[in-house]
Point group: C2
Chain length 318, copies 2
């Protein structure tokens, strides 16, 4: 981790990036390091391949995030990435090497591809925000309320409210310090979780109405056609935000949860979740998809009925 701090310290013009469909940890950990480095006099540009979700639009520094389209190559000493498991996750239009001569890769995903020149991967960390906090400590940046807010949101969201197995005693000790720095957890929850759209909630209702349970396969799944989005007045972003597939995972006796949703004509997006006994990354890979043991996905060519057949045969064949 000292090499991480030294690498950042020796750069003047730094380019950072969120990952595709940025979540609280991508935004929180990246912005915390960016804001901290700016206080030390660095020029830091933060790019993103996708818009920042509404839930995180209140975070300090979020207004400085640029689209990759607006970032020129060759203007930087260093590309510094937090929470990007591989180079493609940045969504950069050109190879990262063209933007700067050096690449720093800091992450907590065990699946990190170890790309870049300086690599620090700590899979024990519950969130990249923990690694961003360590970086700021080594850089001598005081974690004031703004930085604590960024780090807390990263930590809180990536641990699902400190509920996931990845949560460690250290995660809680860090959270205690962020609260000491002035974070009001109720206020943050209201901003992150209580500004949902009516369309998203109606879409969740339609998804729940479509619930299909196959106890013989320990499978529960939802099916959403194109018409569901129109009927609910919801966007694909709403479907992500509200975490539809997780509702099926919470059922007793269910090991695998799935969501099938139309994604344009002749294409169905499959999302898979597991309680831990079934490796859904392996299942997804059989139909050209990928992901993690507990959360994976794939795109299936065909209509919903075809995709449902594929899903059932995947589960029957495991």
């Amino acid at each position: 981790m000292k090499e991480v701090a030294n690498t950042l310290r020796s750069a003047k013009r730094i380019l950072m990036s969120l990952h595709r469909q940025p979540d609280g940890d991508s935004i929180g950990s990246t912005l915390a390091v960016a804001v901290g480095l700016r206080r030390l006099g660095c020029q830091v540009t933060v790019a993103s391949p996708d818009p920042v979700p509404h839930a995180y639009d209140f975070l300090p520094g979020v207004e400085t995030i640029l689209s990759w389209r607006d970032v020129a190559v060759g203007q930087f000493d260093l590309v510094a990435l937090y929470d990007c498991a591989d180079e493609r996750r940045t969504g950069a239009p050109r190879p990262l090497r063209e933007y700067a001569p050096k690449i720093l890769n800091v992450d907590h995903h065990a699946t990190n591809s170890r790309f870049g020149d300086v690599v620090f991967v700590d899979p024990v960390a519950a969130a990249s925000a923990e690694l961003a906090n360590r970086t700021l400590e080594l850089l001598g940046v005081t974690v004031d309320r703004d930085l604590a807010l960024l780090l807390y949101v990263g930590l809180e969201t990536d641990t699902g409210g400190f509920r996931y197995a990845s949560t460690t005693p250290e995660s809680h000790r860090l959270a205690a310090r962020f609260l000491d720095a002035g974070i009001d957890p109720g206020e943050v929850s209201e901003l992150v979780y209580e500004r949902q759209s009516v369309g998203g909630l109606r879409l969740l209702g339609l998804a729940l109405d479509s619930l299909r349970v196959r106890p013989d396969l320990s499978l529960a799944y939802f099916v959403l056609g194109d018409d569901a989005f129109a009927e609910a007045g919801a966007t694909a972003q709403d479907a992500e935000t509200i975490g539809i597939v997780d509702y099926a995972r919470r059922l007793e006796g269910i090991e695998v949860a799935a969501l099938l949703r139309s994604d344009g004509p002749g294409e169905v997006k499959l999302s898979l979740r597991s309680k831990g006994q079934v490796n859904v990354a392996e299942l997804a890979s059989r139909v050209g998809g990928g992901g993690h043991e507990r959360a994976a996905g794939a795109t299936i060519m065909g209509d919903l009925a075809k995709a449902e057949e594929v899903l059932l045969s995947l589960l029957a064949g495991r």
Copy 2:
């Protein structure tokens, strides 16, 4: 708090009670103290007015909980209560004074009526589990994995995964110590949150389908008829467990969320939740109900259409 420990230490036969519709904190804090006292050689009986919800049936000591029906008066030195804001919350069939000459009342609810002989109310504590932990410390009982599990579940559930405004740095420091004692947060989440019933999920779907939004009143609400429970194959317990009314509270721009549900012929149960700006206890009291500022309820005589009128006029008149 020393007087609490001394009171417990000087009793031999102790009666404890959960509160009506016991939640994770009632069960966790009460059982932690009961299990700890038993280790010190006390005879501890734990009574409950209602069955322990399925979500908590794995907790150590839960098998020792009796129905109040099976508890005789005059057999005890002390009634010791954690998390019971008033005497009626225990659901005891007879006045507590008939069960024992002394009553101990330990709680974190600011609304606690201060009944009993020895009273310790700390509204800064995020959960009664924090007070149970302090009690065990003073009694010299080591918090091993079993006790940590009880206390962790009390703390985790009563703070909504450390998300509520009531969460303090101390809550996180305690959680860190419970994890140090061997708690696996992922395992606990799976047991508490991921054993939901299909009926409950279908009921949530029907509730979401009934969503009505009144932006002019900052109100969003659900309406569930008797037929909904039958159609979903769900029980009133399912409706509580899944926290239906909270889904409306999470909408952007909404200050008050409500659920109207048929509760037998000619009776409608109204549940109210607030984000904080509106005192729903005050609203509920206007129709003979009560509760807390952010969570309250009432029973309205009449059919659902009548109850909906009452709800709308309550909000319009505030």
